[in-house]
Symmetry: C2
Subunit: 341 residues, 2 copies
DNA sequence: ACTAAAATTTAACGCGCGTAAAGTTTTTAT
DNA sequence: ATAAAAACTTTACGCGCGTTAAATTTTAGT
């Protein structure tokens, strides 16, 4: 089997002119059935594929989609990225996945490199607080972009995310209704803007319910949230800083660390008799089901956030890359009752 | 600030000819300091970057590196991918990350698409048992490829992975030495060839130690290992199939499910007094530290596997894409003693 | 200041493909 | 069968850049 170098050569081998072959690859139905048959016959004999990057260079509209997440080693983003990729593929697009690995510099470089790809559109979950807003703004001005997960106000043609108030109000209300009002457990300097919204929502809801909010801020930076949560929990557990038997963690990864600390200290967690503490959280991380005890949490509407993100991006693309006005779509959380609270 | 379309335009604006500008971007030191200054001055005023894909099309050797993993939503691969990406970036290469999402079809398509990228080399962790061997063989014939994690015999210029015998022998010997010999807990039809090697190693080591091997095979397909492990554990726990108080799980994700099942059933796991069961495993998954109890496991030498993989790939690239003969490098495991066994 | 070496410019081609225009062949319709 | 429509071929240019060869300018060395 000869190796075909380019379309020219393949066209010659198949006995069809190059422009027609080019047309065929754009849309097989756009050529006569007889010529289509001849091309596909040759295709079986020589296995040739057009160079997608050369194609992209010349097409005004490509089928490339950029997906950028802040930290792919976080299973939450890995899971969402998986869904986004598969949706893009199903829609006939070609996804390119990038992780900023928690670094502003890398986020900027990814966006720079993405421009060369001439993507039809980009799904961007920005780093958040440490993002270079002006760089992202410039990027969005050139490439149709939908933001998801972390909102950066005014940036991108649309934002799709989860309603943090919905998360926290459900968890706080549930814990209060079935026991004592929770303290709120979070990192002192969270990287993600959602964390701030969750804290505010907690304070709001506690006020409304007539309880005094109690926010516990723990030290730690980076993306090793479980370890940060564990260390923080060991500290406050040792200092007996909790005012009630209820704790609401800002997110599941902190909660995973919190539960590990409780187990180490021999503190029984759960809603059953004999448990000293109840721990709930937010996100419904892929592993939340497998903590001990399993984690009661407010679940992201993963499917809808991901589905709406790609839908919105496709609309944006069809609409020529611009929307009348920027929209923000927030999906409510779904309370998942497990054993920890 | 005007938007520059191409190098031609930028060259005109900077007052330098295009070939010289091209040279500059290839190596800034290859031009005279004065012209370099003029270019960089213009660079600040106009922010232009060469289109990387157009560059790749014309260069014989690109700086692109493809990284392909079987399932990115598995934190093990996410973590390894992160390390590989960062190593490539540090070496001045541009990594492109792809996940096969557990599907042979997707793995093949990724490899097809990768050829258009003209990568200098590819780091491939194949799906394993369900990989299309002939497709991978064809790919490796055209693109310098280093396999990692899963070995497919004879494919790729080299293989870097972990020594499964080292994993299992350490865990089995440890458990035997400090208590009873373990049963081996695994999926009936594992997707990954490492699983088979681990089972064989278990049988070998048990034989050598003079114990009768006891392999427990559980049902389940796909990549939701935790849930498969949990269901399987609930079943065998209910049927009291264990012959000793020791269990060695084939991998950590199964073990995470196993521990969750034990917790649900009120079975205390650990090496302390009062514990009914000891559970150990292999991999040192990023979350193994946070299970309850924390998981005793044989750790991959993540850093070395990843580092050696990229090193080997770079050597391969420098060597023109071919090695005298295919090498297989296996790194031993490091036993991590935690609370579960 | 003068010459050889080094760097730059100009001109042109190539990479693999999209695409448009003009001419030719095939198909469809009556 | 015949004209019109549709599809195809030929020719040629463009995309953004690498690269090479010859001509020109700049720099280094003495």
């Amino acid at each position: 089997m000869t190796k075909i170098k380019n379309m020219e050569e393949f066209a010659a081998l198949s006995g069809i002119s190059r422009p027609t072959v080019s047309k065929y690859f754009h849309d097989p139905d756009s050529v006569r059935p007889t010529t289509r048959a001849r091309i596909e016959e040759a295709l079986e004999r020589f296995d040739y594929r057009p160079n997608i990057y050369a194609v992209n260079q010349n097409r005004k509209l490509t089928k490339n989609i950029g997906i950028v997440v802040p930290y792919l080693a976080d299973p939450f983003f890995a899971e969402i990225a998986r869904y986004l990729e598969q949706s893009c593929i199903a829609a006939g697009y070609r996804p390119f996945l990038f992780s900023s690995h928690g670094e502003q510099k890398l986020e900027n470089e990814i966006l720079d490199g993405l421009q060369s790809l001439k993507p039809a559109g980009v799904l961007l979950a920005p780093l958040g607080r440490i993002s270079d807003k002006s760089a992202i703004e410039k990027f969005c001005a050139r490439v149709p972009t939908v933001l998801f997960d972390s909102n950066l106000d005014g940036l991108g043609a649309a934002f799709i995310g989860s309603d943090n108030f919905s998360f926290v109000s459900q968890t706080v209300e549930y814990m209060t209704r079935t026991g004592e009002p929770p303290s709120f457990f979070e990192m002192r300097t969270p990287a993600n803007p959602n964390a701030n919204k969750r804290r505010k929502a907690y304070v709001d809801v506690m006020d409304r319910l007539g309880f005094e909010p109690h926010v516990i801020k723990i030290e730690g930076t980076g993306w090793a949230f479980e370890e940060i949560g564990r260390k923080g929990a060991l500290k406050i557990l040792g200092e007996r800083k909790l005012r009630t038997d209820s704790v609401l963690c800002s997110n599941d990864r902190l909660a995973i660390g919190f539960l590990a600390a409780c187990f180490e200290e021999g503190i029984r967690v759960g809603r059953k008799d004999g448990c000293a503490l109840r721990v709930a959280s937010n996100d419904d991380h892929p592993f939340a089901k497998f903590t001990c005890p399993s984690l009661t949490t407010a679940a992201h509407d993963y499917d809808n956030v991901a589905a709406r993100s790609v839908e919105t991006l496709f609309e944006l693309i069809e609409n020529g890359g611009k929307f009348e006005k920027r929209t923000e779509t927030l999906f409510p959380a779904r309370l998942v009752l497990r054993e920890s609270a």
